[in-house]
């Protein structure tokens, strides 16, 4: 049918099928600012304005939109500098999103901005709650919503004509005075000095206790806007699916309806004859190559137990066949024409049955490739046996032994951009893979043997990533598109639907964990033991390493006190077993949140039983600076362990800052406070959503968890960077590191700018492309700021050295002296400055080097691999309200005080903490993936798999306690993963404080609490 659409004031005549969605038509017209998130519009990434109102283009028909005015993000502002052409610049909302750090991956940003535009047009002075309601239709998995809300409030102020305070380099966080403690019950407002004289305060800066070693720095430590913010805020075609290609085919995967079955026969002949179908591939059509989907360094520390297509299916959602067709609809139709005869096999869906005698063998194929202790005949993907000290002696010396079992659920990364990849042959017959991945270099190396291509004939391009959280540390669908491109010679796009994300991607490993802890009466831990039975699902990708980190990062925290501090007694055993559940993989935190739920719930029980102060007990036994990381001599991700001493640990300070911020001393164990609920945020939010709950049935509680993580994998994770000086004194920074929304491109640019003495916008960042950028392992293990950052500094220092040598020579020639040397030239503000203030600009140096004299390209490559993995530490606090009649738990406030070393960018770093806390909040109370007795998923969309929305978030507060990690040039440690670790146990502990019941399996759902209260 012919449809007339008015988009951004432009009339379009479109020929479309009656069922074509507005999303599909807008994308075909080149409006790439509208993004796919889910078929049902639940993500809001597809938001457009229809007659000024935000609607979801994913399900709205193009035909429905006829006769209405459609606006997309492209209708808003544009880059302020476009050569000779004068532009209006960015819209105030776009500008506010840029400066407040409201953009992380940027995939949902156009939707958030459009929803906000509508709000501000009808309400120029909205409240926080009104902004949150307006944003409720746009899911964001990155930010925790705090900064987007602040961005809208700031833009509203600007649009009302108010002045707003600057958020720029001059707004450096105030160095904390000695003994600085935030006021009791502080609500997380702006740091001192940020609120003077402005009617609207923009509360995006965290509180920071700054280490004195960084006070002289110009770029590091500043809230610089993200280097990719301006393109993302305009909805530019920056993501993998945002391109047009002639002859592009659409790939679809036929997924198994059975949890465990042999494919007795498969007939694709009808599908192949369907008009518009270019190829159908089954296991009979492509080479059988065993591989692992885990995006890890060579050799992959896990079994090779995957095949692009196999004659056996091992979970509901497993691959059966691939189709490429002219349209997604034809491809879907073709899938239905593929006739498959299955021989059903008994499935294993309960992890406890996997290793029982007589259990079905899930991987009985002869070409299974072992790693370490894998034993597929027993459904064992990996085994871990770590003994530190003498556990039996430790237990024998204990006055009390505490034992309990805990359960952690399977949960999803739930990035808003699904897995998506485009493949094509280039003019040199090299296969180009444009993919949303965290690990472009691993993908190139790993996919080569699967396709029968040498590595050198593959180029992997990573555009912007719409969130990953570990889900894209996986070579999940790149092979699907690549096989089909090889089969058809045509470009192919493969993009998962939201349902496919739930049934056929990866998730966090669920585990059953037993704890046994020996304690002396004075609270000294004498021995600590954890056993984890981990469900890796149908494949063993990340099986060993994820579960290894469960013990490595959590069980290392409490070493004991006194003599036990010198020689702790710790055991961590784990069996990681196959089941016929969908495979698990990497998910932000990488096994560590699974360790901290049992550990910190267990510690809390001990404090309750022995009437110990929860914080004193924890700090008494916790690891300290100067001590050996107890696991460093025992385990290192399947590689040789080497001893590692903890150089910096701000944990005690984190506890002090965090407890003051949440008012721990006034609230914990305080019966009067528990029962004194009046007009709290809980009540306000409850009222907004429904009606009042009687206060008499509500109890408040407060809980804590202390956590540590790691920073990269020592002796393994390597990052590299190259820096090149341009004619005007700007620099190209090429990095293999993959910014998946974290802001790593920005903090790496800040480090380069610091060394080179230029503004951050003089650093042009490009990442990642295996043809052009240096190698990097990719974005995982919280490694980028630390590892890739050190590589950038290495490259920058080499470039700076060359610049200084040339600048000294230029100054000597210019002033006809011989006093200038490399060592007395500094790079400051875009200049090479001598001791007396004489200078040449970097532009002068560049022209001299490239054009005038003794020409050379000033350029350098740096790389870095670390011998240590310095842990960040944190204290995480939660405040909850529990309905004692229904068991419903509402989390009212989360506080995280974290030692992540030096904070390179307080806005992006606090954005990481806030977004991480929001994800972890779902792990605490609502997220889980449940399967029926046939292995069918309960959660296939965001209606059932609930992730937190803007209008239901608790208050979030971030405090950075800086230490200076000596192994890094700027003293940094990791930020990104640690917020995932402690929220759930802090919530569980807060529930215990509130109503005196222990919930041992997260999420803490109403029925679990109700049942525990009933059994009390």
């Amino acid at each position: 049918m012919n449809i007339e659409l008015l988009v951004n004031g432009i009339e379009h005549q479109v020929e479309a099928a009656p069922g074509n969605t507005l999303f599909k038509v807008l994308r075909s017209l080149g409006y790439y600012g509208v993004k796919f998130g889910a078929e049902d519009g639940e993500t809001g990434a597809d938001t457009v304005l229809l007659d000024g109102k935000p609607i979801n283009a994913d399900f709205y028909l193009a035909a429905q939109a006829e006769g209405h005015k459609i606006a997309t993000i492209e209708a808003l502002g544009e880059h302020p500098q476009q050569g000779w052409k004068q532009t209006q610049g960015l819209h105030p909302l776009q500008q506010a999103f840029v400066v407040t750090g409201a953009i992380q991956c940027g995939y949902c940003t156009p939707g958030q901005i459009l929803a906000s535009i509508e709000l501000l047009e009808r309400n120029p002075n909205p409240s926080d709650a009104e902004v949150r309601d307006a944003l409720s239709g746009v899911l964001c998995r990155c930010t925790g919503y705090k900064k987007p809300v602040q961005a809208v409030l700031r833009a509203a102020a600007v649009m009302r004509g108010e002045d707003v305070e600057p958020i720029d380099g001059s707004a450096r966080p105030i160095p904390a005075p000695p003994g600085w403690i935030p006021p009791e019950g502080d609500t997380g407002g702006p740091a001192d000095g940020f609120d003077a004289g402005f009617a609207t305060q923009t509360q995006v800066m965290p509180q920071i206790k700054v280490t004195p070693k960084t006070e002289e720095l110009q770029r590091v430590g500043k809230p610089e806007p993200k280097v990719d913010a301006i393109k993302l805020v305009q909805g530019k075609p920056a993501f993998a699916a945002d391109l047009e290609m002639r002859g592009l085919l659409h790939a679809k995967v036929l997924h198994s309806p059975h949890a465990h079955a042999l494919i007795k026969s498969i007939d694709a002949s009808k599908a192949r004859t369907l008009p518009g179908v270019a190829a159908v591939l089954t296991h009979e059509d492509i080479p059988r190559v065993a591989y692992s989907t885990a995006g890890q360094s060579d050799p992959i520390p896990g079994p090779l137990d995957c095949f692009s297509l196999d004659n056996k299916v091992r979970f509901v959602g497993d691959r059966v066949a691939f189709v490429a067709a002219d349209t997604p609809e034809i491809a879907e139709q073709a899938l239905k024409l593929i006739e498959v005869e299955y021989e059903l096999l008994e499935p294993i869906l309960d992890v406890r049955q996997s290793m029982q005698e007589g259990a079905p063998v899930i991987h009985d194929q002869p070409d299974y490739v072992h790693f370490a202790d894998s034993d597929p005949s027993r459904n064992l993907a990996a085994e871990i046996r770590i003994d530190i000290g003498d556990l039996d002696k430790g237990f024998a010396e204990a006055d009390h032994i505490f034992e309990a079992e805990y359960v952690v659920p399977k949960v999803q990364q739930a990035h808003i951009e699904p897995h998506v990849v485009v493949t094509y042959w280039d003019e040199d017959d090299r296969l180009v893979i444009r993919t949303s991945t965290q690990v472009p270099f691993h993908v190139r190396r790993m996919i080569a043997p699967i396709l029968g291509l040498p590595v050198k004939r593959i180029r992997v391009i990573k555009p912007r990533i719409g969130g990953g959280f570990g889900g894209k540390q996986e070579m999940l669908i790149e092979d699907v598109a690549a096989h089909l491109t090889i089969a058809t010679k045509r470009p192919v796009i493969c993009e998962y639907t939201r349902e496919e994300e739930f049934i056929a991607s990866r998730s966090r490993h669920p585990m059953r964990i037993r704890m046994k802890t020996g304690i002396k009466s004075d609270g000294t831990i004498t021995a600590n033991e954890m056993y984890a039975l981990s469900d890796t699902g149908a494949n063993g990708a990340h099986a060993l390493t994820v579960t290894g980190n469960t013990g490595h990062k959590s069980m290392a925290l409490y070493v004991g006190d006194g003599e036990y501090r010198e020689s702790p007694n710790i055991r961590f055993y784990a069996d990681i077993v196959y089941t016929n559940n969908p495979p698990c993989g990497a998910y932000r935190g990488y096994g560590v949140p699974q360790g901290y739920w049992p550990l910190e719930r267990h510690m809390e029980k001990i404090t309750q039983e022995l009437a110990l102060d929860p914080l004193e007990f924890r700090l008494k036994n916790a690891l300290r600076a100067g001590e050996l990381h107890p696991f460093s001599t025992a385990w290192s991700e399947g590689r040789e362990p080497r001893p590692e001493t903890i150089s910096t640990c701000g944990l005690e300070e984190c506890v002090q800052q965090g407890k003051a911020a949440i008012g721990w001393d006034q609230k914990h164990g305080n019966e009067q406070w528990r029962n004194s609920l009046r007009s709290t945020q809980h009540a306000i939010r409850n009222t907004q959503h429904a009606t009042r709950t009687p206060y008499s049935v509500l109890r408040r509680g407060i809980g804590v968890a202390l956590v540590m993580q790691g920073t990269a994998i020592p002796y393994l994770d390597m990052g590299a960077a190259s820096i090149k000086l341009n004619d005007d004194g700007s620099f190209n920074l090429l990095i293999g590191a993959t910014d998946l929304g974290t802001g790593s491109d920005t903090v790496l640019a800040q480090m380069a700018a610091e060394v080179l003495g230029v503004l951050v916008n003089d650093i042009i960042v490009y990442s990642s492309d295996t043809d052009f950028t240096p190698f990097d392992v990719g974005a995982y293990a919280s490694s980028t700021t630390y590892i890739s950052g050190a590589a950038v500094v290495d490259a920058a220092e080499k470039v700076a050295e060359r610049i200084k040598i040339r600048a000294a020579r230029m100054l000597n020639e210019r002033l006809n002296v011989e006093t200038f040397e490399r060592s007395n030239v500094k790079l400051i503000d875009g200049k090479a400055v001598g001791v007396g203030g004489e200078f040449v600009t970097l532009g002068d140096v560049a022209l001299n080097a490239l054009h005038h004299e003794d020409q050379e390209q000033i350029m350098a490559v740096g790389s870095y691999v670390s011998p240590v993995a310095p842990p960040p530490f944190a204290a995480q606090f939660a405040e909850v309200t529990v309905d004692t009649e229904t068991g419903q738990v509402v989390v009212d406030k989360l506080v995280m005080a974290v030692d992540s070393g030096v904070i390179v960018n307080p806005i992006t770093a606090s954005g990481q903490i806030e977004g991480g806390m929001a994800q972890a909040l779902g792990y605490a109370v609502c997220e889980e993936m449940v399967y029926d007795e046939k292995g069918q998923a309960r959660e296939k969309d965001f209606r059932d798999y609930h992730i937190f929305m803007a209008h239901e978030m608790p208050e979030l507060e971030t405090i950075f306690v800086e230490t200076f990690e000596p192994s890094h040039p700027f003293g940094v440690k990791a930020v990104a993963e640690i917020p995932l670790d402690g929220v759930a146990p802090a919530v569980g502990n807060a529930v215990l404080d509130a109503v005196g019941v222990n919930i041992d399996a997260n999420p803490v759902t109403p029925e679990k609490v109700w049942r525990a209260l009933k059994d009390k």
Partner: protein, 251 residues
């Protein structure tokens, strides 16, 4: 799969189209459910040009056009406050812009806060052709059989009735595991509707007074167990939420 799209501007034309069985022809409200991928081939009749988007107080009732969006109903001054809360719980801001009242009622499953709250109010639906008045409660279990070829044009709810709504969910904006909506008329008539389970909200009680409402709720959900919650839990909590609703009236 949607094979035909029609946007009539006369009710008669819409009804003519909806009378067809080949292709199966169904009314399209906002499309939040109907437009999602499906194997079923249908023709759709978009109702947006029929003028069914008015909200009008008529005596002691509020007449709501079938294509009134949830947001429009939320914004209307006469809409009961508790019904507004249920609308907020039903859908996010974006979805509320296009989801229509009639569409939401016809597509509702047991977890729909809006359908539960409306059902408690004993709404009267106007169906075409025939200008037939039916109760939502009677239509709900039979909607699949009775609605083909027919169209809801108006929903009428009483304005002199007190409404209370309580729910339990994993998070404040998550769908309810259990919810209770209770309406009380000046005469004392009390209707208790439960939600959070099954294919549609459940009328647990329609009595002359609130007496025994919590017991009725407990009994109504005695078998209401599924993957999300046990029947034991739902039954107990349904009674408690119902009691709270009644207490709200009394306080």
């Amino acid at each position: 799969m949607i094979t035909e799209y029609h946007r009539p501007d006369k009710l008669e034309d819409a009804l003519d189209l909806l009378a067809r069985t080949n292709p199966l022809t169904v009314p399209l409200g906002g499309g939040t459910v109907l437009n999602q991928p499906s194997d079923q081939q249908v023709a759709v009749v978009d109702l947006q040009a029929l003028g069914l988007n008015l909200i009008e107080p008529r005596g002691r009732t509020l007449s709501i056009g079938a294509t009134v969006t949830l947001q429009a109903l939320l914004d209307a001054s006469k809409t009961p406050l508790v019904l507004k809360a249920a609308i907020r719980h039903e859908a996010t801001y974006n979805i509320r812009q296009v989801a229509t009242v009639a569409g939401a009622l016809m597509a509702a499953d047991g977890r729909s806060p809006f359908a539960a709250a409306i059902l408690a109010l004993a709404p009267e639906l106007t169906l075409q052709p025939g200008d037939e008045k039916v109760s939502y409660g009677e239509l709900l279990p039979l909607r699949a059989e009775q609605m083909p070829g027919r169209l809801i044009t108006y929903v009428a709810i009483p304005l002199d009735v007190k409404l209370a709504y309580q729910y339990v969910a994993r998070s404040p904006a998550d769908l309810p595991i259990v919810c209770a909506a209770v309406a009380k008329w000046p005469s004392g008539r009390t209707r208790v509707v439960l939600g959070g389970y099954g294919e549609s909200p459940l009328l647990a009680m329609d009595g002359p007074n609130p007496q025994g409402a919590d017991i009725a709720a407990r009994d109504a959900y005695r078998e209401a167990g599924d993957q999300w919650a046990s029947a034991e839990y739902r039954s107990d909590v349904a009674a408690k939420l119902t009691r709270r609703c009644i207490d709200e009236f009394e306080n």
